[in-house]
C-alpha cells in the first residue's frame, strides 16, 4: 500500500532579521491511510513548519529542499508538493490534503457564515450550485456533531463556542473527504474538557472515514490519546520514531526520555505536600497564631456592562482561605474566574460583594493609599514571561523596582547587591542583570520574574499560570525552582492554573472553580483522589495522561461520566 504522504529528506530555511535560519533539517516521514502520526516537539523544533509544507503553505521567506510525495484521495496519482505549480497546489489543497488550525477563533472569517466558508472549499474544486453546496455543508456539520445544522449553517463564527468553532474548522477541512488531514495543535487553544471532545471527533474521522491524520502537538497526553505512531522532533530533526505504545513504554532517544520525564502527572505532588506540612509545623512551634493570609467569604466580583447592559458576574459567592506558608492551587477553565480572584487579591480588580481580607485588609473598602504599604508583602508572577518585563529596562532595573518603590533603596544601582542575591536565589547568573528581557529565554525570564516577586520577602505570592507559556521541559524546571523557593522562604502562595497536574505538583490544597463558583476544595489527595463534584470528576477524567494504555482506560471512564451527566 502506498503511503498517503511520503516526506523524504525535507530541509527548510527561513530568512529572518537575524539572517538565514534553518528550521527543518533532513526530515523523512511517512503516513499511511487511516493512521494518526503525531509529530511531537517543543517550540522551535520545526514540527509546524514540516506540517505546513505538506500543503505548500510556507511563507515566501522559506526555501524548501527534498520531496513531499502526496497521494491523491482516490489513490490514483502521486505528486511532489514541493515542485507543484501554484495552480496544481490549489487543486491538491482541500481535495487531497487539508488542515485544521490551532486557534479556531482566528481560522474562521468573521464576516462570512460558516456555511459559506465550507461551501467555498467545495466550489473551489468543482461545479456546485449554491443549494447543492449548502446541502453538503449541512451534511458535514451534522457529521462533526453540530446540533441543528440546518439552522447553524447560516450562523456567523462568533455565534459558536470555542469547541464548536473547532468542529466547524474540522468540517471545512473534511468536506471534500481528503485522504489526509494535518491538524496543527488542534486542541491547544481549548479547555481540557472541550479538548477531550475534539480528540474524540478526530478519532472518529480516522475510524469512520479512514482519513490519515498528521497531528502536530507539544502535549504528550494528547499524543497518548490519539496517535498510532509518533515522531519526536528536536532542532529540526526527527530524533525518534516509533509506534505510540513502544515510544511511551521504552523511549530510546535521550531527548524523548527527558521530555516524558518533564510531563507533570497527577499524584506526583504528594511527597512534596507532606514535606511542606512538616516544615510548616516546625515553624509554627514558636507559638505563632495561625491567622490566614487571605480570607474570602462569599466573595463576588461583577464587571459592569456597557451602556446599561447587564453586568457580568465573574466570581460568584466564593469562600476560601490561605494560611501562612500554605500553597492554594486554584484550578479552572477559561471563564471560571480564577484570574479575576488573583487580580482582586493583588488589588488590581475591585470586588463588588462579600468580603476579601488580604493580610487583614478588607478589600471591599479598597483605597490604594492605605493598601500600598501592604503591597510590599505581596509578590506577583504573571503568565507571559515575555510581556511581564518592561522591554526598555534591564533585568536588574526591573528586579530593583519593588526595592526602590518601597524605599529599600534610593535607586536601582543602590539595590544592585540585593538584586544579585535574588538572581542567585532563582539560579540566574548575576551578570544577567545587565541584560534586556529579550536577551533571555522564556524560562530565564520567568526565573527573573520570580526574583522580582520575591524581592521584598513577601508573605504572599500570587502566581497566575506562571508556566503555561513555557515548554514542558522548561516548565518542569521552573516548577521545581518554585517549590524549592517556597520551602526556603516559607511564603504563602496562590497558584493559579488550568492544569490539574501542575497544581497538584505544588499545592497543599486545591480549589476548583467553574463558571465563577467554587465547586470543590480540599487537599490534593481529596480533590484528585476522590472528587465529589461531577465537574471535578469530568475535569480529571478529561486530562489526558502520557501513557496510551492508561489513557484508553481513562477514556472509557470519561465516556461513563459523560453518559451519567447526560442521564441526569
Amino acid at each position: 500500500m502506498t503511503p498517503v504522504v511520503d516526506i523524504s529528506d525535507l530541509t527548510i530555511s527561513f530568512a529572518t532579521d537575524a539572517g538565514a535560519v534553518k528550521a527543518v533539517d533532513g526530515v523523512s516521514l511517512t503516513v499511511n491511510r487511516g493512521e494518526v502520526l503525531a509529530i511531537v516537539g517543543e517550540s522551535g523544533s520545526g514540527k509546524t513548519v514540516t506540517a505546513k509544507t505538506i500543503l505548500g503553505l510556507l511563507p515566501e521567506t522559506a526555501t524548501v529542499g527534498g520531496a513531499v510525495l502526496l497521494t491523491s484521495s482516490e489513490g490514483d496519482s502521486v505528486s511532489d508538493v514541493v515542485s507543484l505549480t501554484k495552480k496544481q497546489l490549489r487543486a491538491v489543497r482541500g481535495a487531497d490534503v487539508s488542515m485544521v488550525f490551532q486557534e479556531p477563533s482566528t481560522a474562521l472569517n468573521p464576516v462570512y457564515t460558516v456555511g459559506w466558508q465550507i461551501a467555498e472549499g467545495l466550489r473551489a474544486h468543482g461545479k456546485y450550485s449554491r443549494a447543492e453546496a449548502k446541502l453538503e455543508a449541512i451534511e458535514i456539520l451534522r457529521k462533526v456533531g453540530i446540533p441543528d445544522p440546518e439552522v447553524r449553517v447560516n450562523h456567523y463564527p462568533h455565534q459558536f463556542s470555542g469547541g464548536q468553532k473547532q468542529r466547524v474548522v474540522i468540517a471545512s477541512a473534511l468536506v471534500l473527504n481528503p485522504g489526509l488531514i494535518v491538524a496543527d495543535e488542534p486542541t491547544t487553544a481549548l479547555d481540557v474538557t472541550v479538548q477531550a471532545e475534539i480528540l474524540e471527533l478526530l478519532r472518529r474521522l480516522r475510524d469512520e472515514f479512514d482519513t490519515a491524520i498528521v497531528l502536530i502537538t507539544h502535549n504528550m497526553g494528547v499524543v497518548a490519546d490519539l496517535a498510532d505512531r509518533v515522531a519526536v522532533m528536536y532542532q529540526g530533526k526527527v530524533v525518534e520514531e516509533a509506534d505510540a505504545k513502544t515510544l511511551f513504554a521504552s523511549p530510546q532517544a535521550d531527548y524523548t526520555r527527558r521530555l516524558l520525564d518533564a510531563v507533570p502527572r497527577i499524584g506526583q505532588g504528594r511527597v512534596r505536600t507532606e514535606e511542606r506540612q512538616r516544615v510548616r509545623a516546625e515553624r509554627n512551634e514558636g507559638g505563632v497564631v495561625d491567622v490566614p493570609v487571605v480570607e474570602a467569604s462569599h466573595l463576588t466580583i461583577e464587571y459592569p456592562g456597557r451602556f446599561g447592559a447587564k453586568g457580568f458576574r465573574a466570581v460568584d459567592d466564593v469562600s476560601f482561605s490561605i494560611g501562612p506558608g500554605e500553597v492554594l492551587g486554584l484550578v479552572g477553565e477559561s471563564g471560571s474566574g480564577k484570574t479575576t480572584i488573583g487580580r482582586a487579591i493583588g488589588g488590581l480588580t475591585r470586588i463588588t460583594g462579600g468580603s476579601l481580607k488580604v493580610l487583614g485588609f478588607e478589600m471591599l473598602d479598597f483605597q490604594e493609599r492605605r493598601f500600598k504599604p501592604l503591597r510590599a508583602d505581596i509578590g506577583f508572577v504573571f503568565q507571559d514571561p515575555a510581556a511581564s518585563f518592561n522591554p526598555l529596562l534591564t533585568i536588574a532595573d526591573a528586579v530593583a523596582e519593588p526595592l526602590v518603590i518601597h524605599g529599600r533603596a534610593k535607586n536601582p544601582a543602590q539595590a544592585r547587591k540585593r538584586v544579585d542575591e535574588l538572581l542567585e536565589a532563582v539560579q540566574l547568573p548575576k551578570s544577567y542583570g545587565d541584560r534586556f528581557p529579550h536577551e533571555l529565554s522564556g524560562g530565564q525570564r520567568q526565573r527573573a520574574s520570580l526574583a522580582r516577586g520575591l524581592a521584598l520577602g513577601p508573605k504572599l505570592l500570587i502566581a497566575d499560570e506562571p508556566t503555561s507559556a513555557l515548554d514542558v521541559s522548561v516548565q518542569a524546571r521552573v516548577l521545581e525552582l518554585f517549590a524549592e523557593l517556597q520551602l526556603e522562604f516559607g511564603f504563602a502562595a496562590l497558584f493559579i492554573s488550568h492544569d490539574l497536574a501542575v497544581v497538584d505538583l505544588l499545592a497543599d490544597r486545591i480549589a476548583v472553580l467553574y463558571h465563577g463558583k467554587l465547586v470543590e476544595e480540599g487537599t490534593g489527595a481529596e480533590v484528585l483522589g476522590d472528587p465529589q463534584d461531577p465537574y471535578t470528576r469530568r475535569l480529571i477524567a478529561s486530562l489526558p495522561v502520557p501513557d496510551p494504555v492508561e489513557q484508553a482506560a481513562r477514556r472509557t471512564l470519561l465516556a461513563r461520566i459523560q453518559a451519567e451527566a447526560g442521564a441526569n
Binding site: S98, F101, N109, Q159
Partner: protein, 361 residues
C-alpha cells in the same frame, strides 16, 4: 488638508463591541447617534471662540470704511456689544434651530448660501468620490496582491505622488495641459453661460447641474456640464484615490496574513479570490470607518479645488467671504460643515457596523 496617513486605526469612543449579544446594535446606533451632538457642539464652540478673539465681526469686516460712530451704531444694532457669553448662548440656540446667522457683506442667511451653493459642492464631491473609488479601491487590492513586487512599488509611488501634489497645483497643471495647450476641456466654471441660462428656466432647479441638465433633456447641456466636471473631478478625486489606495493596501495586507485566509488557502481557494473575498470584506470594516474620516479631506480639498476652477460652490464662497473678512459668514459656513461632517461620519460608522456581523447579531 486632513489626511491622516496612518488612517488604519478607526477612532471612536463607542467602537462597536464585537461580543455584544442581541440588542447590541440598537444600543450602538443610539449611542452613536447621541454622539453627533457633542461633536457639533464642540466644533461650533471652538469656531465661535476663535473668531471672537479677533474682535467683533463688524469692525473686522468694515473697520476701514465706516466712521467710529457708524461702526458703534451697527455693532449695537447687531447686538455685538452684549457680553460674549450672552451672544454665545444665543448663537448656540440659533444653531440648534438651524439658523446660522446672516452674512455681513451681502446680508444673506447662511442657510440660503448653503441652498444656493451646496449643490455644487455636493456634485464636485460626488465626482471626486467616483474617481477615488474607481481608482483607489481596485488598485489598492492589486497592490496588496503584488505586495513588494514591481506593480506594488509603481502603485505606491503613484499613491504618494497623488497625495504629495496639492490639489490646486494638480488642478493648475491639468488646466495648463488640457485646457490651455490642448484646448480639449473648459478652463474653469461649472458650465457655459448658455447652459446656465437655459437651466435657469427650469421650474424646480436642484443646483446640481448634472441633474438639471438631464432634466432639461438637452444632450449638449449634459455634455457641457460633464466637460466642465472632468478636470476638477480628477484633481480632487486623485488626491482622495491616493489615500484610498494606501488604506486598502495596508488593511488587505493585514487581513491576508490572518489565519482564516490561510485556512481558505488550505481549502484550495485561489489567490485572486482570497484577496477579493476573504481578505477584502473583513478589511472593509476599518476601511469604511476611515473613509468616513476622509470626508474631511474631501471638504478641505473642495475649498481649494473650487477656488482653482472657479467652481461656484460653498468652498468658493467661503474663500470669497474670507477675502472680504466677513467672519460671520465664515463662522456660519464652518459650523454648517461641522454638522455635515458629524452626520456623514455617523452614517458611515453605521454602515461599517452593518457590515460586521459581530455587531449586527
Amino acid at each position: 488638508m486632513t489626511t491622516s496617513l496612518l488612517p488604519t486605526d478607526a477612532p471612536s469612543v463607542v467602537a462597536p463591541k464585537p461580543k455584544s449579544a442581541g440588542g447590541g446594535f440598537a444600543r450602538y446606533l443610539l449611542v452613536r447617534f447621541l454622539l453627533i451632538f457633542p461633536t457639533i457642539f464642540i466644533l461650533v464652540t471652538l469656531v465661535f471662540i476663535l473668531l471672537r478673539t479677533v474682535g467683533d465681526p463688524i469692525t473686522a469686516a468694515q473697520g476701514g470704511r465706516l466712521t467710529a460712530d457708524q461702526l458703534q451704531e451697527r455693532i449695537h444694532a447687531a447686538g455685538y456689544d452684549r457680553p460674549v457669553i450672552v451672544q454665545y448662548l444665543e448663537y448656540l440656540g440659533q444653531v440648534f434651530t438651524g439658523n446660522f446667522g446672516n452674512t455681513i457683506s451681502d446680508n444673506r442667511p447662511i442657510t440660503e448660501v448653503l441652498l444656493t451653493y451646496g449643490g455644487a459642492t455636493l456634485e464636485l464631491a460626488f465626482y471626486a468620490l467616483i474617481v477615488a473609488f474607481i481608482v483607489g479601491i481596485p488598485l489598492g487590492m492589486l497592490a496588496a496582491y503584488y505586495r513588494d513586487r514591481l506593480p506594488d512599488a509603481v502603485l505606491r509611488i503613484f499613491a504618494i505622488l497623488w497625495y504629495a501634489t496639492p490639489v490646486f497645483f494638480a488642478g493648475m497643471l491639468l488646466k495648463l495641459v488640457f485646457s490651455v495647450w490642448l484646448q480639449w476641456l473648459p478652463v474653469a466654471g461649472r458650465a457655459t453661460t448658455r447652459t446656465e441660462l437655459s437651466m435657469q428656466t427650469l421650474p424646480n432647479k436642484t443646483g446640481i447641474y448634472l441633474i438639471d441638465a438631464i432634466a432639461l433633456g438637452n444632450p449638449a447641456a449634459i455634455g457641457d456640464v460633464l466637460a466642465h466636471a472632468v478636470l476638477p473631478g480628477i484633481a480632487l478625486g486623485l488626491l482622495t484615490a491616493g489615500v484610498f489606495l494606501r488604506l486598502v493596501r495596508t488593511n488587505v495586507i493585514g487581513t491576508l496574513g490572518t489565519d482564516y485566509v490561510d485556512a481558505a488557502r488550505s481549502r484550495g481557494v485561489g489567490e485572486a479570490r482570497l484577496v477579493r473575498k476573504h481578505a477584502f470584506k473583513p478589511a472593509l470594516i476599518p476601511i469604511i470607518t476611515v473613509i468616513g474620516l476622509q470626508i474631511a479631506l474631501l471638504l478641505g480639498g473642495a475649498v481649494l479645488t473650487e477656488t482653482t476652477f472657479e467652481w461656484k460652490g460653498l468652498g468658493f464662497q467661503l474663500a470669497a467671504y474670507l477675502a472680504a473678512r466677513d467672519f460671520v459668514a465664515v463662522q456660519g459656513i464652518v459650523a454648517l460643515l461641522a454638522v455635515i461632517v458629524a452626520l456623514t461620519n455617523f452614517i458611515v460608522d453605521i454602515i461599517a457596523a452593518l457590515i460586521d456581523p459581530r455587531v449586527r447579531y
